[in-house]
Symmetry: C2
Subunit: 419 residues, 2 copies
Amino acid sequence: MDGILLRNIISDGKDCDIYIKGNVISDIAPAGAGRPDENYEAVDCRGKTALPGMINAHTHASMTLFRGVGEDICFQDWINKIWAEEEKIDDEFIYWAAKVACLEMIRTGTSAFLDQYWRVPAAAQAVREMGLRAVLSYVHLDHYDPATADRQRRECQEVYEESLSWPSTIGFSVAVHSVYSVSERQIVWAADFARAHGLKLNVHLCETEKEVRDCRASHGMSPVAYLDSLGVLGPDVIAAHALWLDEDDIRILAGRGVSCVHNINSNLKLASGYRFLYNELKGAGVNLCIGTDGCASSNNLDLLEAMKTAALVQKAWRCDPAAMPLDELFAMASVNPAKALGICSGRIEKGALADIIIVDTDSSFFLSRAPFMANFVYSAHSDSICSMICDGKFVMRDRAVPGEDEILAEARKVLSRLD
Amino acid sequence: MDGILLRNIISDGKDCDIYIKGNVISDIAPAGAGRPDENYEAVDCRGKTALPGMINAHTHASMTLFRGVGEDICFQDWINKIWAEEEKIDDEFIYWAAKVACLEMIRTGTSAFLDQYWRVPAAAQAVREMGLRAVLSYVHLDHYDPATADRQRRECQEVYEESLSWPSTIGFSVAVHSVYSVSERQIVWAADFARAHGLKLNVHLCETEKEVRDCRASHGMSPVAYLDSLGVLGPDVIAAHALWLDEDDIRILAGRGVSCVHNINSNLKLASGYRFLYNELKGAGVNLCIGTDGCASSNNLDLLEAMKTAALVQKAWRCDPAAMPLDELFAMASVNPAKALGICSGRIEKGALADIIIVDTDSSFFLSRAPFMANFVYSAHSDSICSMICDGKFVMRDRAVPGEDEILAEARKVLSRLD
């Protein structure tokens, strides 16, 4: 077989045939109008809708097995608990936790993600085996300890070299944990390293009010201004959270071309805040994405759930029911993160990467006269996503993901060893 | 067969056998310890968890087919659109829309609900056929028109008389739409009628800031004080929304024994507000419940989703990650609404009504060291609910609900006639 033909699938409101050859969408034709071709595996998609696979712009995949470690506690207590847990992890933990994360992302419609964690090669192996697309970053978090900083620089360099042999679906990038947990020297080194090698740089930025207050006390400026003063910010930087911003911060982020990632569920659950300045950031021209954060805070990897919550919370605190329109919301989970990550996906069009989810609308949730996207975001759940193609191959078909039982069993073993 | 035996099911953290005889839980024994009895249909529930069927304390079931009628518009524009749509509906619409609502409730774990709408006998037939439990209220909404008021009093009386022959699973009650849409004379009549016949009374109360402002302008007092001045409030009253309250309102609601229903998704989406005064209401001793509101606003009937959003939003605006603890949250969807509605359910214990949901924890969402309820609310989705027993009978088994295809097909026909 040369490829896959999705027959009679709704895309952009039209009944289409979508041809996939290799890892790209090779053609989109009106349903039935295309050439019959025996070299394509034809899949009957009547009554189903195609969307680009969603892209999670900020997560920590291997923290999926830290889900539930600290429930209903404040950010500072929570992160201390997480840091204590992280002392225990090894490659096996990372590998199986990343597999669980990929399984959960596949089942909830996410075909690509930007990750920030350690032991990146073990995660890369898991992602490769699960067939997803990812940009995996090595995170610098030295707690101002020079020995840790040295080790992390060495490890970062090693993983970068290893990443040169990774498949095209998996990219490498660099992360700085935050302005409050990484020494200035290390921040600068990481940013220089990323720039020197053409890599993305991601960072937790202005997540809590305390972070901003402490940074102003230590450095006399906001975290955004501080990073900018170090020459860190630029179009390859992706800032997660970006919640506690002032006008100057927004001007700097827009001016430097930084992408920002809204992580609503994590911000709400840790009581970090809820007033994400969507209108102001968008108005300034910032590329805006959505993410789930890691399962230790959010507590799942379901972007559809995050989209609904983001839209509803934005409407409520702004007293504006039209806030965060649906097309812009879906862009935050598709074209915008694709742009941030520099990957040719997030849209269904000829020549784009074949990362596609197939939505089954044969349920009560789609009984409505509203546009598809309203039903998908406001009414349905991610279990309406029945199949996913990533990089031209099915990774889920009719809700079945190969290897699911083994992944759950092995993950339980890993979890039992943590106690 | 005499009944159902749920073998090896986790309830309250313990491995149990749950015996169901007729419509009640007749016994709960440690797993394997009970008498083997051929008269029970034994269902193997290993690896599954039993919870009481959830109770939706405020919805408009037949508005499920108004889903998507007005997206992303403000409350006043939205309700005007709804009222225009409601001119078109007939018994057939109500019947099939209520069937869709029941289907959706079953699939998301809700076994009982308090409804507020018209053409109640058509809805009652649908609920009976679907096997759910409900209290269905006839809603007074006269728009200050005496002829409408007369007709509604007559209809209310007629439905009440008809309701005397309904099965034990379906109760009748009375509703007053709101202080801004119903004449004073009608409000008093409805409250007197309810009291005279021992019926519950439910009302939309303090849903928007405008409602409170207008009521103060018209009556010189808040909607709560206004209803109290009319002698309406008492322990049989269930107030939906209760969002824009002051200290005096809370004192009155607590003093009268009114139950309040939090409808987070509806409040957020219509930008009505988000500061539900959970701590203050609970502190005053008010019985607090959770609801989804109708699908025209919220846009689904998924209580589990509503619970997560309610908890997360409460944590965020209070800057308190411990706000709305999980056990209290689940009580708002189980024992509290059971108390409000006067039904012996909402808990799994000997003698209670056999309204039970069975949760399949064999998925990534339950891979966690957190307590079950944290995983259920924060991580999982309602599709983890695999089966439901209502009034002693299975209404969903392994995600299959009898008649689902026909319901969806008939609902599509009804919808197509609306355009």
